[in-house]
Symmetry: C2
Subunit: 339 residues, 2 copies
């Protein structure tokens, strides 16, 4: 299908839809002067034929839309919203409009990427904080527009992110430096994203840090859950039911860490006297709850992605992989283990 | 200016820009076949003249854009992001695109509304969670598109919201029922919004509840701060410096309440044994931190606004003011005062 879709041209679409070339062109370019029913028929036929206006043809036809599509897997979670806020601020300042696409779950995601090539409404697509699978990359490619990514790894596109493994090492090294040896990990995965594209840097950091410290791995101290506070709380309950519970917990995110802390408090345990907990992110609530964490600059990643996109649209050279630094923020949830 | 802008027609714009009527029309309707420089000149002239394509003319010209503008004062705060997520889900299901406009601060807001009428790119505008001033209403009106509001009061537009005064009463009545008489209020205002449009229902609830309970008002127990956790922390410090501190604190939001709790913990006070704290919202973190609060359904307000907008676009009748219920959620941060 990738092969044949390259060969479809506007004449094919016009013929299949039973309209003139001029009408097909107007319908595909979303211009006026085409009856709604006709427009829908042309678009349906174009989609069926996987017809894609070539970027060159589109540019010749005066293609700049002044719009950028932003694709996000979540909106109401702080991390994604902060990325979006940073990105939007830069695009707005450049007078570009932001079209927001929330791709919510695997079904939705499949549908979005399937329909993507027919959506020739934007100059660029920004993929926020999720890894893009191979078939999805192919669909994105068919659009023939600029694509960049932010807040996630594994993108073949120009992208802005943190180094998850470095962030995880900063968290683990802090716990090891305090003298902890029985360190648990609450690993988080996104149930709405395909397994093969889940980043694993934060988990790799755990295994590498233990190995480098000469501490044998105890698999009973690793619990994997979906992202979220309640899931962190459940994971902590599991860890407390082990014959020999940990003295410290490394959680893949602050929300997961906060859930773990709720379980500890309900069990009557004190933090950090009885157990240390560390997260990753520096979620605004981490400061309010005195949570030790590894800060990543989130809004800034969105802003950098926006500036990178503007450079590309202006035809300038840009870096391909921009990695922003993370930083340990020590607050009240970590301390040396009880001796 | 409101008067004269009504009389400007396309011929005026064409004349002032030195182009033909056909070219002016194409430029204003964002069609192809107009040189970029010409298009910019026509739009600049149109904006200068406050020219607005009349909705009737626009509809006759085949005006449906399939796009809805969503205007938000904040993106990365949970409340706003959750509203947006609910709204986007409904609009996306109806195959409408969401254009996101973040109006960040008073300057930005002024600029946005000033330029608004020239942005004839959408079928509707949804104003999320901020009250719209009179001059802003006039600018919105010039667009001649459907306008609705969600998550905030004082809208002359069809809108979805909670009753802030009822929510505040639910919080206050809970504290009064537990036996508290020295109740402080941490009131929150948005520094980025004009004072005259700030909703005051949550404050009114405090005064009314005290009055109904026959408790004399002590103004030293009221502290007003900007929205935010750090601000709540500062406000709590002020309250603890009073000669006779409160036994309970009613905060206008959960984030403000969490800040207050951080100050109490740092002062070595126990919650709820030494002091009770209640918020409003049921922010996801409230559950993780065992905060008693008044829940408002936020995502649902966004969804309802989306459905209301679809009804209006289909020409159906809808309610003008939809008020969604709030509900007390008792957790571990409130208890009777020490006797």
């Amino acid at each position: 299908m990738a092969q044949s879709s390259q060969k479809i041209n506007m004449a094919d679409v016009a013929r299949a839809a039973g309209v003139s070339m001029a009408t097909a062109s107007r319908a595909l370019n979303n211009e006026n002067g085409v009856a709604e029913a006709t427009r829908r028929r042309v678009l349906a036929v174009a989609e069926e034929l996987s017809y894609v206006v070539s970027p060159e043809a589109s540019r010749l036809a005066g293609g700049d839309t002044g719009r950028v599509a932003v694709v996000v897997p979540h909106i109401s979670r702080w991390f994604f919203a902060a990325l979006l806020e940073g990105l939007e601020s830069v695009l707005r300042a450049a007078d570009l409009d932001v079209l927001l696409y929330h791709v919510d779950g695997i079904e939705d995601r499949h549908d979005f990427f399937h329909r993507l090539p027919a959506r020739r409404k934007v100059d660029a697509v920004v993929v926020l904080a999720f890894p893009v699978g191979e078939e999805e990359q192919r669909r994105l490619g068919l659009m023939g527009v600029t694509i960049i990514a932010a807040g996630g790894q594994h993108a073949p596109y120009p992208n802005v992110s943190i180094n998850d493994e470095t962030a995880g090492r900063q968290a683990m090294d802090h716990l090891l430096f305090l003298g902890h040896r029985r360190i648990a990990m609450i690993a988080a995965v996104d149930p709405d994203q395909p397994d093969e594209v889940q980043p694993s840097g934060r988990s790799n950091a755990y295994y590498a840090a233990l190995r480098d410290a000469g501490i044998p791995l105890d698999e009973r101290l690793v619990v994997t859950v979906d992202w979220g506070g309640d899931q962190g709380a459940d994971a902590m309950a599991k860890l407390l039911s082990r014959p020999e519970p940990p003295t410290a917990v490394y959680a893949h995110s602050d929300e997961v860490a906060l859930g773990a802390i709720r379980t500890l408090r309900r069990a009557g345990l004190r933090i950090p006297e009885d157990l240390s907990v560390i997260g990753i992110d520096d979620h605004p609530v981490a400061e309010l709850t005195d949570l030790t964490t590894v800060r990543q600059p989130v809004r800034e990643q969105g802003e950098l992605a926006g500036r990178m996109l503007l450079s590309i649209l202006r035809g300038e050279e840009t870096e391909h992989d921009v990695v922003v630094p993370t930083q340990l923020v020590i607050r009240g949830s970590t301390a040396p283990p009880r001796s």
